[in-house]
């Protein structure tokens, strides 16, 4: 079939040269593109976000899918632990997280994979029976551990990790069960929470980070204040130990933590704390979780130390707020604190300034 037309298009050398340049760009793009879709982070960093506070692994006991008690801290000791709070009816976040993790674990050498512990804790124990959890996890990887327990225990577990409590409710309009839960995978390379991997973490993120998490040199912690060369202070029946101040790192206020043991037979009361070198008195505070899951801090007038008892001032609980100073609160330094007790009088306690990640594990 011919169509009469006198119109023709004639190429020109200039157009040909421009076309060749475009072809070169396309070819280079193809070569670059076919190198893969990896997004390279800066050297030495992980794709997960650092935990605001490297909280210790809680010693919480739940029940695994075989009906056996499972002490989270003891069972995962020595392993790179990945912990997730979710539910099996989850349509997206939970299955995507576990599918991606399982896919990557299948590519890891067995010598690496066996050093991992992946723990799933259901926040919907009514629907997630042990059999349901096991079947769901087996769809990803039979090595994954599934835990369930009373709602109060789950809430305590989440609270110990400073997570907002999960909620399970029923939509009155549709009858659908609505579950709100943390969508992040909590990673414990050692005995502390170090990194959080949010939903959106991809397989190549895990592939890159998991082996490095196993090999990374995290601060090694030993028990108590001895690590920081700050010996405990004894005054009468009172023994104050483990006094540390995390370096404020630009924050306006710093916090001081320590442990008070009352070895006497009469209770005493901590009335105040001063930091003369920081130019002011400290304020006793307590962090608490409200009904809606938000964390609040309230002032505390004093702290009672019962006879024969112990009171810990620690992250997430009781603590002393102090005015901060970058110059005097550099890691490695020592800040003298003056504790005032109702019966024990004034006790001078040296507090070591440490990095947040070096906060000692509280046994």
């Amino acid at each position: 079939m011919h169509v009469a037309s006198t119109l023709r298009v004639s190429p020109s050398p200039r157009r040909a040269a421009a076309a060749l340049r475009l072809l070169a760009v396309v070819a280079i793009t193809m070569l670059v593109a076919c190198g893969g879709g990896e997004r390279a982070p800066r050297a030495g960093t992980f794709r997960g976000a650092p935990a605001p506070v490297p909280l210790p692994k809680p010693s919480i006991v739940l029940t695994d899918t075989d009906g056996r008690p499972y002490d989270f801290r003891r069972e995962t000791a020595g392993k790179l632990t990945l912990l997730f709070f979710g539910y099996t009816h989850c349509p997206d976040v939970c299955p995507v997280h576990f599918a991606n993790l399982a896919a990557v674990m299948r590519t890891l050498p067995s010598s690496v994979a066996e050093r991992l512990a992946v723990v799933f804790v259901t926040v919907d124990p009514d629907r997630d029976t042990p059999d349901v959890i096991r079947a769901w996890l087996d769809g990803f990887d039979p090595r994954f551990v599934g835990l369930r327990g009373p709602a109060a225990d789950i809430a305590a577990f989440e609270s110990a990790l400073s997570l907002a409590p999960s909620t399970v409710s029923v939509d009155p309009a549709t009858g659908d069960t609505l579950v709100a839960h943390s969508g992040a995978m909590l990673v414990f390379p050692d005995d502390r929470l170090r990194l959080l991997y949010p939903f959106g973490t991809r397989q190549d993120d895990w592939a890159r980070d998991l082996p490095r998490l196993l090999d990374a040199q995290w601060p090694v912690d030993t028990a108590g204040a001895a690590r920081f060369d700050v010996p405990p202070v004894t005054s009468g029946d009172l023994r104050i130990s483990g006094a540390v101040i995390p370096a404020p790192a630009g924050r306006a206020m710093a916090a001081a933590y320590f442990t008070i043991d009352n070895q006497g037979t009469v209770a005493d009361t901590l009335r105040g704390v001063e930091a003369p070198t920081l130019g002011g008195a400290g304020m006793l505070h307590e962090t608490a979780r409200q009904a809606g899951g938000t964390m609040t801090m309230r002032g505390v007038a004093d702290v009672v130390v019962p006879a024969g008892g112990r009171v810990r001032l620690e992250p997430g609980g009781l603590h002393v707020m102090l005015p901060s100073s970058e110059a005097t609160l550099a890691p490695g330094g020592t800040v003298p604190l003056l504790l005032t007790f109702a019966r024990g009088g004034r006790v001078a306690v040296p507090a070591r300034v440490v990095r947040y990640e070096d906060l000692p594990v509280v046994p």
């Binding site: 011919h2 169509v3 076309a19 475009l22 396309v26 193809m30 893969g36 995507v96 991606n100 896919a103």
Partner: protein, 269 residues
């Protein structure tokens, strides 16, 4: 209600969804086909082969099936393999069918509009068309672009439109007699088809051998029962290679044997 299919965070269900933008585009394509065929057929003194009509209306039907539910949303947000099918349809099959379905009389009417033909000639020059088609194919399979475009309706529309337009541009010089290209010999056409589509082989192999899912859109979408993200991507690679390559080979074979059958006379399909 969405007007065009794009990535969604909602789990996939087989519940029907309306996409009015798709209906508008398909309606426009159907009207255009009816109008062109009506004008073209009115010009003719002799009957047109029936297969042209079948080709034209098949293009409209396939356009609707490719863009509308369920293929549209599946490809836009859940399955890379369906997305691969959409590319082959929008980029290769539908444009070819649409162009071969144009009646001879319509081409004759077009030929009388010299300014328009000149412009079409510039746009569809084989070298330029080949580069455009290749560039669109390569760029629209880059994860950094796909993940951004698929997240929005306009982006997804742009992606689909780029495939359709580049496919029309690419197929034009092979199937349309206007403008005439007497020096675009059949053997050159065979080389043109090969060079213009070879990128799909590399893309298919990339999908097939990649260790991990390439596109966040599909990797992070609510899982499709029974299919992992990587397996789905490998299916996409397989579709590129095992469906796309035969299509290309078939086109090259037709052109080659047409050249054999008609000698050296340049002739449009």
């Amino acid at each position: 209600m969405q007007w065009w299919c794009s990535a969604s965070a909602a789990p996939w269900t087989w519940g029907w969804q309306a996409f009015p933008g798709v209906w508008a585009v398909v309606t426009l394509a159907a009207w255009g086909t009816w109008r062109v065929r009506g004008l073209g057929l009115g010009e003719l003194a002799t009957p047109e082969p029936r297969w042209r009509g079948w080709a034209a209306w098949s293009a409209v039907l396939l356009l609707w099936l490719t863009l509308d539910w369920p293929v549209g949303p599946l490809g836009a947000g859940y399955l890379a393999s369906v997305h691969a099918v959409q590319f082959l349809m929008l980029g290769m099959i539908i444009p070819t069918l649409a162009l071969v379905g144009v009646p001879t009389g319509a081409w004759e009417r077009l030929a009388r509009r010299r300014g328009l033909v000149r412009g079409i000639g510039v746009l569809t020059h084989p070298f330029r068309a080949m580069l455009l088609f290749t560039a669109v194919m390569v760029f629209t399979h880059q994860p950094w672009l796909v993940d951004v475009l698929m997240a929005s309706q306009w982006g997804s529309f742009a992606l689909d439109a780029s495939w359709l337009v580049s496919g029309l541009v690419f197929a034009w010089s092979l199937t349309a007699p206007v403008p005439a290209r007497p020096r675009f010999l059949p053997l050159l056409q065979v080389a043109y088809v090969f060079a213009g589509t070879i990128a799909h082989v590399f893309i298919g192999m990339w999908f097939l051998v990649a260790d991990y899912p390439i596109f966040a859109t599909y990797e992070l979408s609510p899982p499709f029962p029974g299919l992992t993200a990587r397996a789905d991507q490998q299916w996409a690679g397989g579709i590129f290679l095992l469906v796309g390559t035969p299509l290309v080979l078939a086109a090259m074979t037709v052109l080659f044997f047409r050249w054999i059958g008609t000698g050296a006379e340049p002739e449009a399909v």
